[in-house]
Amino acid sequence: MKNMDDIFNDCLERLLNGESLESCIARYPDQAAHLAPILKLAIASREAMNTVRAPEGAKGRALQRIWKAGQSAKPRGLGLFARLRPWALAATALLVVALGMGTAAVASADTAPGDVLYPVKQSRERLQLIFTLPPQAKARLYLTMAQERAKEMETLLERGQHEKLEALAESSSKHLERIPGLFQVEAEEVTVRQTPVQPLPPGLQPRTKAEMREMLVETAQKHKAKMEKTLKDAPPELDAKTKKALSKWDEGYKRAIAELEKGRQGPKR
């Protein structure tokens, strides 16, 4: 047999689901006198509190505060990103949030330096950095950004536009040098000894330095092979400069991999 707490809750749930008070009470005729006034009061309380609404724009202000808090934790020295005007960032933030990383961001995904939508891509990356707080997620994001720089280098090599390669290589190295510091030494050393490294599905964030290192090695190999293949067809007069850019790019990976192997923390944000 149901006790009064259960009966009250049963009637309440029915009322909340749209059943009438009379119909609910009819199920428990012996308890009707007890139930009717308190059910009415429960519903009246609910309706009264439902009239309390957040002031206009409150949600937007909350999101802005979260955004600002994320911004204060951003890494310094972001090169190209740091030079973007605050109003441009704010506008892009609104655009991207409003569209759920929508049209403009998607359209800009495959752009390279010099393309009209390339600044949108840069703003999107900066926004992602601001909002990404967990260290492993941030490390994964830096790697994704480095992978993007590699793809852009490949695009420019294919287009025969070699002049911006070195800047992209430097940018890639800056992303990569942030990664080792985002993993804690103690936790990592224990995990590395105990856990065999498994290849991770794309997009999954690394949990340990060893997993991160594997991802870096794999990424470096993949892009290096592709770029060297493209480089074979490059005009001879551009060969030396392009090779220098490629070497810089390669060095960035080597340094980050070495840092992760050492178990030392890299530069702090």
Binding site: S45, T51, V52, A58, K138
Partner: protein, 186 residues
């Protein structure tokens, strides 16, 4: 399009996806605000506290583990802790003043509005006379619209205990309101 579940959104937010967290803010802000407003009082403090709840949630989202307790329960636990901190700062005698709170503009019937406004007023006077647990259950169940299970998780209590609390809370509320009503009669 089907609405995405909290679990999926939280999981994306943990991987650093801000649009997923934005959706969670959109989904819960009004309910959290209602909770802080009923507990704290004036609109500015209530809004500030509601913002604080989401800021804390965003910072701690990486630590959140899906172990049966829903996200809503976790969020309202943060809200409760912040309210308690606020009480400590202001002292226990903090009063609730809802006079300047925005009311639902869709309710344009003057008599109904007056009746409901009176109910909010009665509630704000009666709530401090309930026990803390009773007040919590009234606000979470009827103010923020949490299910019995969500309320239980937010209060770290068993579902049956919340059922009993809910029943007792409404009975107490009725006794308080009847007393007030008798006392106020000319």
């Amino acid at each position: 399009m089907q609405e995405r579940g909290d679990e999926e959104l939280v999981s994306e937010a943990q991987r650093g996806a801000s649009p997923a967290f934005t959706t969670l803010v959109e989904r819960y802000f009004d309910r959290v605000y209602r909770y802080t407003a009923m507990r704290i009082g004036n609109t500015a403090d209530a809004e500030d506290l509601a913002q604080e709840v989401f800021l804390k949630a965003w910072k701690a989202i990486g630590k959140y583990r899906w172990t049966g307790a829903p996200f809503s329960a976790w969020l309202f636990r943060i809200a409760h802790n912040l309210v308690v901190d606020q009480y400590r700062r202001q002292g226990q005698g903090a009063t609730v003043s809802l006079e300047d709170m925005p009311q639902d503009p869709s309710r344009d019937d003057v008599e109904e509005q007056a009746e409901l406004a009176l109910s909010v007023d009665e509630l704000r006077k009666a709530l401090p006379k309930l026990t803390e647990a009773q007040r919590q259950v009234i606000l979470l169940r009827f103010g923020s619209g949490l299910s019995l299970e969500e309320t239980a998780a937010a209060m770290k209590k068993k579902v049956n205990a919340v059922k009993a609390l809910q029943h007792a809370a409404v009975l107490s509320l009725r006794r308080i309101l009847v007393k007030v009503s008798v006392a106020e009669k000319p």
